[in-house]
């Protein structure tokens, strides 16, 4: 199977690629040009060819909540948004705390062949925060990291042991930093808006205090710590200090925390409700700065689908979380890159090779002999976020109605086209 992509603007800052050129793919691998004819030739003039995007934090809800999302609809949402690899969080039902669930998800994903799916295993059995999961079994079955996401591992001793035990496998322990005593009953960020609207707030210290603890434990154990969805300026100081101290810690930030603030809540739209909550504009600016400075390593969507009937309720009764795979790239490109708050280089790095590195994935770059996972983007094309066009089963997006620039035209996973102009191809278009 050979594909030739002609006349694309090849762009991969990691490998200093920034040129108009052709790209040759043979059996899923990037090759030198050859005289043999291609099976498929793609005219990509006027388009950027970037490394397939890597999301290290999504929820595909399968098994257990298939009315919100499935491996299939999640995969489609991913490739439509330009993602070729997605790590899925284990807060499914049953949770990914045994090899059976890992195999179930991997089998579904490979039968579909739309997108690469990497399961994250739970840190503790049943995500209860008490006993360690069988990390070895999970790792061997294909888990690329461990997290009780949705729950923080609040027992410091258990978290210490998780960091220690994971040294066996050199995979990250991913914490959801939230002191649930401080955040209990909280709906939105504790601040001016929560005071005005009368919501119980989630103070930034509920995140920062756990981050401080986690970093101290990472230092003490030597384990690999990854911190999910950083939202507050007060967390960043600890992170910076930890990195300067040589501690093995990485962190991610979501598109919605980079683009929105607590001000969005004033209309009581439940698509502004997520954990951690949208914070102040000072926090947002600090997150962008930390991403640029490398204190925060990567962008992750925290794609969290919920069906309409669950979100179409009183604010405090709605579940936390928003979808993000289909809007992440374009929303960030439009509102950060085109507004000179983040460079195109920083955006691509933060969504491809840098997240891949956190999970040890040999992906997210354009390299001869490398894996052929790519995304073709029309950076001039404008579009409006319309829930009727979502590939995801859920439409709980805070960006509905936004006019965005930059549209994913085609996605190649493992050398085959799985998305092209609103069409999906299971097992690739051969």
């Amino acid at each position: 199977m050979r594909i030739t992509i002609k006349g694309a603007h090849l762009y991969d800052p990691k490998n200093n690629i920034d040129e108009i050129g052709d790209l040759y793919i043979k059996d899923g691998i990037v090759t030198e040009s050859s005289n043999t004819s291609s099976d498929i030739e793609i005219d990509a003039r006027g388009l950027y060819l970037i490394p397939g995007l890597v999301d290290i934090h999504s929820h595909f809800r399968e098994p257990g909540k298939e009315d919100a999302e499935t491996v299939e609809t999640g995969s489609k949402a991913a490739v439509k948004g330009g993602f070729t690899s997605v790590a899925v969080m284990p807060n499914t039902n049953p949770p990914i705390d045994n090899e059976g669930v890992v195999r179930y998800i991997k089998e579904k994903a490979s039968n579909l062949g739309i997108c690469r799916i990497f399961p994250i295993g739970t840190i503790t059995k049943g995500r209860k925060g008490q006993e360690l999961s069988e990390m070895g079994h999970l790792y061997e079955a294909g888990c690329v990291g461990f997290s009780d996401d949705g729950n923080c591992v609040e027992n410091s001793s258990v978290f210490r042991r998780a960091l220690e035990y994971s040294l066996l496998f050199d995979v990250p322990i991913i914490d959801h930093p939230e002191d649930s005593d401080l955040s209990r009953d909280g709906q939105i960020n504790e601040g001016i808006i929560s005071t005005k609207l009368g919501f119980k707030g989630i103070p930034d210290v509920s995140e920062a205090s756990i981050i401080a603890r986690d970093i101290l434990l990472a230092k003490f154990t030597g384990g690999r710590l990854h911190l999910a969805h950083i939202s507050a300026e007060s967390s960043i100081g600890f992170l910076k200090h930890g990195k300067e101290d040589g501690i093995n810690v990485t962190a991610e930030v979501t598109p919605h925390h980079l683009l929105l603030t607590e001000e969005s809540v004033v209309n009581f739209d439940t698509n502004t409700k997520m954990k951690p909550p949208l914070r102040s504009s000072t926090d947002r600016e600090a997150l962008i700065r930390a991403l640029r400075e490398g204190i925060i390593n990567a962008i992750a969507t925290d794609h969290a689908p919920h069906p309409v009937y669950e979100k179409e309720v009183e604010y405090s009764l709605a579940p936390f979380g928003v979808v993000g795979l289909e809007t992440a790239f374009s929303a960030l490109y439009t509102n950060l890159v085109l507004k000179n708050k983040l460079s195109f280089e920083e955006l691509i790095n933060s969504m491809s090779n840098k997240p891949a590195k956190i999970l040890n994935l040999p992906l997210g770059e354009i390299r001869k002999g490398g894996t052929a996972d790519f995304t073709l983007v029309d950076t001039e094309k404008e579009w409006v976020v319309d829930p009727d066009n979502f590939a995801s089963k859920s439409i709980n997006s805070p960006f509905i109605g936004w006019r965005l620039k930059g549209l994913v035209k085609l996605t190649i996973v493992n050398g085959i086209i799985t998305f092209r102009e609103n069409e999906f191809f299971k097992g690739g278009k051969n």
């Binding site: 001016i192 929560s194 005071t195 009368g198 919501f199 009581f268 309720v313 009183e314 604010y315």
Partner: protein
Amino acid sequence: MVLNRKDLLGIEDLSREEIEGIFEVAESMEEILSRTIKKAPTLRGITIANLFFEPSTRTLNSFVLAEKRLSADSFNLSASSSSILKGETLLDTAKNIQAMEVDIVVIRHSVPGSSFYLAKKLSSSVVNAGDGTHEHPTQALLDLMTIRKRFPDFKDLKVAIIGDIEHSRVARSLILGLNKMGASVTVCGPPTLIPKWINTFGVTVTYDITKALPEKHIIYVLRIQKERQEESLFPSMREYIRYYCLTYNRLKEYASPDILIMHPGPMNRGIEIESKVADSEYSLILDQVRTGVAIRMSILYLLSRKKLK
């Protein structure tokens, strides 16, 4: 005539002119209430649903009476009797009520923004009768009108609000309303019950009641709920009383001699307010209740005008 809007959801988005307009109509409603036959045919043919998803005696009765005085058809739906218990969503409940050709929905709900959410979804008018700890606009309007009878232009008026500011929709709406009318506000209570960001409301904060009382025209006492003590927001009722109960002695020692006292009810006598204060000549508490009916009549009338034409 002002108040050209579908819903009455909060004090925040009302202008001073709209508030004055509500008062003017309420004054003519008070005239109706002073007649021997306290009834007018004004809202004949208008249907009103009172959706109370949280317990209420005073506010519900005040709305019901206002509706009856103006000859509207109305019915009440409370959380305990409603299909909410059977798992129906708020939106479905409200849509069903709207399908019965209801003109105005009066809603009380424990979640902030619930009335805003319904207002967006329904073509009927929505009146917020209290949404969680967010707003309670009809209470603030009746409070402001009660004050206005003594201080018609609110100029140089100084009000202290004492108690649980954090969990009080009454305080939020009242602060917004007093600010709009040009009065200055001091809030006082234990630090755990005063939101950290309350100064963005343009109020003065003190934790010391003896500093809150002097040089004020009105002391507004809030109800303290026993649950707050269980949430560790203050150590005991005994200690709350020690520091924050509005006692007769405190009043005499620190407040000006022509001080006036208000309370939204229901009162915890002996806890946030001493009986001797509540029943004193300084108290406007029953005036507030009386004014409440007229204010609600005014709002229901103003929101129905388009349909009545």
